[in-house]
Amino acid sequence: VIPARVDYLRPTSIGEALEALADGDAKVLAGGHSLVPMMKLRLARPMLLVDIGRLELRGISESGGVLTIGALTTYDQLLRTDGIGLPDALRESAAAVGDVQVRNMGTVGGSVAHGDPASDVTASLIALGASLRLRSAAGVRECPADEFFVGLFTTVLRQQEILVEIDLPLLGPGEGSAYRSVDDAASGYPLAGAAARVRLDDGRVAECAVGLTGAEATPRRLREVEQALLEVGSGPVEPCVGAALAKLELTRGEGDSEYRRQLTVVAVTRAFQTARARAVEGET
């Protein structure tokens, strides 16, 4: 409850924020729902908090079939988006986060940048082919979501770099997406959460992307499952996913990888089936 002493800065421009991050012990504060709990327990002890909460990095817009989400957009704002066809997987993963208070304060960009292995939205961003825009004093670079996460609470984001925006393509006709998870009863975090995006061509799965969160040390794209699902046809999905995941080395879990694997199979199966059904609806 009682954080260690920390300095606090609330810059009014991104330039000022980036400058402040030159201090190697500085951390970016967005919604505060990942970092602050760790600071309360003194598990995280930054010397300087750079609160970017007042920067203009909030909001959702659409242009040319691409959705752009400001990094400071809260889950609640995401869920209240009107008039833009927010992909179902993103909506469902945002709705799965925490509770009302967390969704009011927690930000999409904050969750991504934190690199939590069990962040719900990361699975969806990966499956939906999102691209992350990272800004530094040197300029802007783009990073595909599925290349962003390196390990437990570790990402490719550099110390003097801020995640500013997330781009993702809107779904077209014949496409569908879904997020399904099995959550820990205490924390509400997914023990296994899977997002799937499916494109049908003439009723056949022509394209499939699956993002996984919670089950491993870092969220990632499940390419080995995608390949199997392209060939599943009208056959049963669960055994197909199970076979594809049988070789998977689950790197997270409390000594019960068998159960964790089962939950992964269940989440992937349910996400895929729902996404495919939605794609069918979208096709007709």
Binding site: V1, I2, P3, A4, R5, L41, R42, D99, V182, D184, A185, A186, S187, D256, Y259, Q262, L263, V266
Partner: protein, 764 residues
Amino acid sequence: MMETLIESTSASGIGRSRPRTDAASKLTGRAAFVADSPVAGLLHGRLVTCPYAHARILSIDRASALALPGVHAVLVWEDLPIKAGSGRAAEPLAREEVVFAGQPVALVLADTEALAEDGAENVFVDYEPLEPVMDVRRAIELESPLARVGHLKEESDVEMHGAAGGGTDAIGGAPVSANVVDRKVFSAGNAEQALAGSAAVVSGSFRIPWVHQAYMEPQVAMAWPEPDGGLAVRSSTQAVFWVRQELAQLFALPLTKVRVQAGTLGGGFGGKLRLIEPLVASAALAVGRPVQVAFTRTEDFAAANPCPSLEFELQLGADADGRFTALAGRVLIDCGAFTDSAPAALAGARVSGPYHFDCWQIESVGVRTNRFGAGAYRGPTSTQSTFAVESLVDELAARLEVDPFELRLRNAPDPGALRIDGVPWTKIGFRETLQAIRTHPLWEHRHELPENEGVGLALGMFPGAKQGAGAVCRMDSDGGLTVISGYVDMTGTDTSMATIAAEVFGISAEMVRVTAGDTSSAPHAGVSGGSMVTYCLGSAVAVAARDAREQVLRVAAQELEIDPADLEIVEGQVRPLGSPDRGIPLSTIGAKVTGFGPYAPVEGHGSSVPPELAPSVAAALSHVRVDPDTGEVELLHHVAAQDCGRAINPALVEGQMRGGAAQSIGFALYEDLNHNEEGQLLAWSFMTYAIARSESLPTIETILVEVPSPFGPLGARGIGESAIAPGAAAVANAVAAATGLRFGTLPITPRRLWHALTAVPTEA
């Protein structure tokens, strides 16, 4: 009897649902709790806790901490002015031996909590780790290492739930380890023979882990030395007079030099019974300044007094007609490192549930281990016992092919028959409560459910307790009343006391304020617990309100020159019978008795000790759906029925029933305050310790049953604790109905259920 004391009709609103008087302030965040009180010169304490489950303290280096700005003191056990006493209270900081991970070994006092925490990080303790004792079954064996190597005298107290009684002390047989700290045998007849001659016998092993009370407000207290050499304490407590008694003993002070005040209680459930006050008061006396310590949530999980783990080995027999022949077996209670409040007598006595047995043989064994110290939790051991017994009763019904309701009904205890602790049964609403749900559609249609769904039934009971209670009803200048007692409002009892006083006095409940005084101003009181407040204090308030009424009538009689017997209180006035236009407003009398005039203050006094207990029977039906792919159990519907004697405020009774059901469901599906083999706590926050939450619970349907108790106010029974008894068993029986799997270990987590479903294709 109280029925004659309390007249039945008035404007008081008794028997009707009314909002709690404290609801608005709590819901809007205006209620002030102990840690919200500003105090000049306050020092904040932060704990230095031991990372080992069992260790010897070699040295404590405080120099670096003391060098930090704002740090005033670093206290260790030797610094505390404790002169007497025993058990956990006399050891608020570990002496030489640390007996659980998380035990406080030093207290840093500083100007702010953050500075104190900085100090705590800079206290360096050298330990010699000792072997921890974590497994109760191994701990009882003669050759087991000991959970406590040194010997400190401890005492056990069962005041609150002392109604358990009975049992005999140690039996013969094999010598056991010194980790066995308490041992009781309850027996009648020849249970072994009765089981041998039974038409059917079922048996089972059941294990329920440690569970935390999970109150919202962590343990917190503030203490300061008084100018007269005394001690004042404000704490989050259920029992101010218990705290006073204990602190007076610890510091060898006269009772009158210790003043204890309860703050607004942010949840207790049995867990707020003098855990933290010895530490805070010791510190305040040691440094001569006000001191406050508030546990963090992690400390509250690691270092408080949660509900102990229980293991049952039971056998239940019945004759061909389904009458229980005998109950036999053993209960192991993990008392943790301190055995002050989890004696074997309590757990053994609860094993019978609400049933009558011809014979019984129950051995109840309390075992010391290296886990915190056991505390009380709502209906101590009743949820766990009910789970064990009701699992067996369901099995027996299946074995005998008897309807589960019918089997239970056949074993209702008659008044006068003996409970297994030797206490006679009184009239209880056993049959009435069961009948209230027997025709519930959930039960009637239980065989028409889809696959993976099931409905479970369970019946539970808590006998409640009794203790003397005193109350004062003072007339205020507005003609209303202030009720003063030493009981802390934990469950909305203030609202009920206002209603009772209003009913007796003859005014509306809005005109009654209820105040919990401190130990220097309130009549002596017991504990807010044991389902006792309404049952015991309610009667005292009724007596006090009647006394106040008589005093008011005498004042009015003088004013009106009329015999008091010819006066009544109606519509806010004292009126001569039959002459409504000659009345005096109560506010006029209030002004006279609170002003300087010929009249003494109106102050009614009352006390009461109910002659017997008024057990409340509770039943539950639970409807679950099991997801065979994940092992998750979804609650679709839950019904709670309970005999409340008489519902003084039905909304509050229903609130108690819903809260109890939620906590009981927590036992069944979620809660597990588990340690690993090294004694490290694995569930140290609400991120790792699951409880039943609003989003995982269905609406809990409540059915009030009213079988009046002869001695409670208006026939009311104490209801707080029975409410938690049957839910866990009902959920477990529902899971058994849905899956065919009977779990002996709680909680039934998705992981356990999924493994059980995948492992055993045959009958479990």
